[in-house]
């Protein structure tokens, strides 16, 4: 018997709001322990939550970008459980009335387009962190993260392979990054993914018993963990056993999933409507306002780059993977004709320096090595044959080093390409006269020497001769 996996993902995305979901504390990552806390997020007696409107707006953005229905009224609920990193002993979340319902995420796997529907998107607060290894006989609690806003995005169990799961997650991350609601950093935990996974005989429409896999901190971990879990479940069933409904943790070092708690020990969270927060109304006007502010989404932009600008699929994919890169490209392209030449410069030169100098952070490239205007100018200089592609590389390095415009560099250093046939002809004559022996060899059939003559002419011309004209005149002179 063959089996197919049935996978649904639950993604938690930390929102890039300045403050926490229910108090004014900073939501920034990386402060000293408990620096970002106040009576509200420490759950002192008497405190009350006040909802961060920006977080709601971010949820609406995510909902609109995935085609979800934005609920006219949603409601927060309390999820009750005891743990030191949860100061109120309840998490304020949404339960029976989430802010977004339905929707879908589109992505491609092996060149084929897939759509996976969403169950819901809702807002909730993050917990703090327990630190167990800092002290010999005590655990410490850091509540900086307690109350940071999260979006929980739940897919239908429609993913059919680990590769699909990873592609779905990539597409979702890209969308959230485009919307500038989440930085998508899985290592730092600002994007977290849990999976519900079961197997069933291929072709069956029944769902098997599922396990929930947690602690997958990278795309690779998601794929590896799901592959491992599929194998494990198939082994269990093939061996005559049954899969137990449980939560399992992915151990990335050993590459196994381990049981964390089974259903018998599952919490009864005693959800009930949060009485400290009134129901949350979202007016059609508000939705419309957010809708107007939505950026073009990555899939749409990719299609446009291919269709309207005429870029190859690969280039479109690379350039649109980040919103700021795509924006940069478009800013430069505004004054050019040759998209492909510009694309090469962005992908090969600009992004190389961004990577080398680590200029990218979160959602923004901190400093572009050169402005899009200068880059466009450089490409223009090549297009109108002012400089050669080879000279352009030198000019580019100098643009990065000095910040000067390519025109200024070309002028200052006298790099303007010589296309004047008289000057080049003179150089050709000089070179051929100086190397009469090689001319004879060439004429006798040693074709490889052509490159040598080109090099010599360029040397005489200090590299500024138009290579095409050099080629033509050399050929004429040698024939």
């Amino acid at each position: 018997m063959t089996f197919e996996p049935v996978i649904g993902l639950e993604v938690h995305a930390q929102l890039l709001t300045r403050s926490k979901l229910f108090c004014a504390c900073s939501a920034e990552f990386g402060a000293p322990p408990n620096a970002h806390t106040c009576p509200v997020c420490m759950a002192f007696p008497g405190v009350l939550p006040v909802l961060n409107r920006r977080a709601v707006e971010f949820a609406i953005r995510a909902g609109l970008a995935t085609g979800s229905t934005i609920a006219p009224v949603s409601r927060f609920a309390r999820k009750n459980y005891f743990y030191p990193d949860l100061p109120k002993a309840y998490q304020i979340s949404m339960y029976d009335a989430p802010i977004c319902l339905g929707g879908e995420v589109r992505f491609t796997v092996d060149g084929a387009e897939r759509r996976v529907r969403l169950v819901r998107i809702h807002l909730e607060e993050d917990a703090g962190k327990n630190i167990h290894d800092a002290h010999a006989d005590a655990s410490l609690v850091d509540l900086n993260r307690a109350g940071v806003p999260l979006l929980e995005i739940v897919s239908e169990p429609e993913l059919r392979s680990p590769a699909e799961a990873a592609a779905y997650l990539r597409a979702l991350r890209e969308t959230l990054q485009y919307l500038e609601v989440c930085d998508g950093n899985m290592e730092e935990g600002s994007l977290r993914c849990d999976a519900n996974i079961s197997i069933r005989p291929t072709g069956s429409d029944r769902l098997g018993t599922r396990a929930e896999i947690k602690n997958m901190n990278s795309f690779r971990a998601v794929e590896r963990a799901l592959e491992h879990e599929i194998t494990r479940q198939i082994e269990v069933v093939s061996g005559g056993g049954t899969v137990v409904q449980e939560t399992r943790l992915w151990d990335a070092d050993r590459e196994v999933t381990r049981s964390m708690r089974s259903k018998e020990f599952a919490h009864d969270y005693r959800y009930f409507p949060e009485p400290d927060l009134p129901p949350l109304p979202v007016s059609p006007e508000w939705v419309e306002e957010v809708h107007r502010s939505l950026p073009e989404l990555p899939a749409d932009r990719r299609a446009r780059f291919e269709r309207d600008i005429g870029l190859p699929a690969y280039d479109a994919e690379v350039l649109t993977a980040r919103r700021d890169v795509a924006d940069y490209f478009e800013a430069a392209f505004a004054r050019l004709r040759n998209a492909k030449a510009l694309s090469n410069w962005v992908m090969e030169s600009v992004l190389r320096i961004v990577r080398e100098k680590k200029l990218d952070e979160q959602l923004r490239i901190r400093d572009w090595p050169v402005t899009p205007e200068s880059l466009a100018e450089l490409v223009e200089l090549i297009e109108n044959a002012t400089i050669s592609g080879k000279i352009a590389k030198t000019v580019f390095e100098e643009m990065v080093a000095t910040g000067k415009s390519p025109r200024a560099i070309v002028a200052d250093r006298g790099l303007v390409q010589v296309t004047d046939e008289g000057a080049i002809s003179a150089a050709v004559d000089r070179v051929l006269a100086a190397h009469a022996d090689k001319v004879s060899e060439y004429r006798a059939g040693k074709d490889k020497l052509f490159g040598f003559f080109v090099g010599q002419v360029m040397r005489v011309m200090a590299g500024k001769a138009n290579p095409q004209v050099v080629n033509e005149l050399l050929k004429k002179a040698l024939s």
Binding site: P39, A43, P45, G46, L48, N80, F82, K88, R270, D276
Partner: protein, 494 residues
């Protein structure tokens, strides 16, 4: 000069302070002497902030000397139920679990009093976490009714009622979740006002049941209640359930009288088993209201009988969640010697909470549990809607409703302690008002054969505090019940 705080109202004291007849410090010292004399018998306070209060009074006197009084509350000694968080002053909620808890911030109500110059004299006793009707559930021992030391002052805000009735301060704040202001006001012969849910911020009061809790004043007369309510009321951006509505000038609206006021008398609130003197006093009061110009009709609240059960599901469900934060981790009592995290929780909470609090946490946890939610919490929410609808219907025909505050006068200490259900029934006439979120006031309307005060309850429309206050004021001006003071040496069964 020798000031007798028990003979003063807040408004009267404010006039004499601004006339410089006495100073805020003299007034405070008189209250502190009164506290020293009466506390051994009454136990109204858990903390008396003498030093802090003296500083505040001295500052108030400087303002009076400069002629820059901040408000009618400037220099007035006011006590706070010990569920109001006070920066730097211990706040226990009458529980062992917060025995040494000193808050890092002031709640909104406290901040409003402070900014108006009030002298915060101390923190009053109450039932632990405001759970109770007699103040006997305090972890620090009960308070005693100043009219009869063998009787309870009512609860849960018993200490605040006692302090005002006994002249230990001029006014006090309490909280009312199911009657916790009105019941002790009735039992102690003073005015207790519970505003509309959302009228006064809940920020900075120890939460018991979030959808029911409301802050309100205890005063000696209705004018004082109007003055204090005006200071407390108003939208607070820190409380998402506080209403963004204007606060009327309650004091200036007191004289509107009862002409054209339609009063409804809920049939269900005059039930069998009610103490006869309570019924007769309330009926006399209704007749007086009618003679003052109001029209009176009988109305029905058909779901009144479900109120107690509904309340004890919703309030305890919310409480079970609200009190989960007392886990011994960040503040409050932590059990020593626990070997594991779970033991830390268990032992801290076992040692920290009293029996009634544990009972309600268990009840509420059960009501929210998987498999029971629909039958208990879910059904209670539906019943709450019906109770609220009853009031909407009745108040569509009337401007306010009139009823007794409690079926009896103050009962004896220990009388109901072993029988929680009969204790819960003391709130039978007040509890629906919280479920419906309405404003209500208890004013003195008589005494029983033992000389114990009886309370008249007026219930208003949402945010109809002004009408409620002017009706209560019209009644009060035609009677002398509010002028009664507890005897200096009351009889005691002891």
């Amino acid at each position: 000069m020798n000031v007798d705080p028990s003979s003063l109202t807040l408004a009267g004291a404010a006039l004499r302070l601004s006339a410089r007849e006495f100073t805020a410090s003299e007034l405070l010292e008189a209250c502190l002497r009164r506290i020293a004399d009466t506390e051994p018998r009454l136990h109204a306070f858990l903390t008396v902030s003498e030093a802090e209060a003296r500083r505040q009074a001295a500052t108030a006197d400087e303002r009076f000397a400069r002629g820059e009084a901040l408000s009618a509350l400037d220099g007035i000694p006011i006590a706070l139920k010990d569920v109001f968080l006070t920066r730097g002053v211990r706040t226990t909620a009458a529980s062992r679990i917060l025995e040494n808890f000193v808050p890092p911030y002031d709640g909104t109500a406290v901040a409003r009093l402070r900014s108006r110059g009030a002298v915060l004299i101390g923190k009053t006793n109450c039932d632990e976490f405001a759970m109770g009707s007699s103040t006997e559930n305090s972890a620090y021992g009960p308070s005693f009714n100043p009219w009869d030391w063998s009787r309870v002052p009512g609860g849960s805000s018993g200490g605040s009622a006692v302090a005002v009735a006994a002249g230990q301060c001029l006014a006090a704040l309490g909280t009312d979740t199911g009657g916790s202001i009105r019941l002790p006001a009735a039992y102690c012969g003073i005015v207790g006002f519970k505003p509309t849910y959302g009228r006064v911020s809940r920020y900075g009061i120890v939460a018991y049941a979030s959808s029911l809790d409301q802050v309100g004043p205890f005063t000696r007369d209705v004018r004082d209640a109007a003055i204090l309510l005006e200071a407390l009321a108003g939208h607070d951006p820190r409380d998402a359930t506080s209403a963004p509505v204007e606060t009327p000038g309650y004091e200036s609206l007191l004289d509107r009288g009862l002409d054209a006021i339609r009063i409804g008398v809920p049939r269900e609130y005059f039930h069998e088993g009610m103490q006869p003197e309570v019924e007769s006093s309330v009926r006399e009061a209704i007749a007086l209201l009618e003679s003052l110009g109001a029209s009176v009709e009988i109305v029905s609240l058909p779901h009144a009988g479900y109120a107690i059960a509904t309340y004890y599901l919703i309030a305890t469900a919310e409480a079970s969640s609200n009190l989960a934060r007392y886990d011994g981790i960040r503040y409050g009592r932590r059990a020593g010697g626990a070997a594991t995290l779970v033991d830390t929780y268990r032992q801290s909470r076992d040692q920290g909470f009293g029996p009634e609090v544990k009972r309600r946490i268990l009840l509420g946890t059960y009501a929210l549990s998987a498999g029971y939610y629909d039958a208990y919490y879910g059904k209670a929410q539906k019943a709450r809607t019906l109770v609220r609808k009853d009031f909407e219907d009745a108040l569509a025909r009337c401007d306010l409703l009139v009823a007794p505050t409690a079926p009896t006068t103050a009962f004896h200490l220990g009388e109901k302690l072993e029988d929680p259900l009969s204790m819960y029934l003391s709130d039978v006439l007040t509890i629906s008002v919280n479920l419906a979120g309405l404003p209500a006031v208890s004013v003195p309307c008589g005494v029983d054969a033992c000389g114990l005060p009886i309370g008249l309850q007026l219930i208003g429309k949402p945010f109809g505090e002004a009408t409620l206050l002017s009706a209560a004021y019209a009644y009060e001006r035609s009677t002398h019940w509010h002028e009664g003071r507890p005897p200096a040496a009351p009889r005691s069964a002891a």
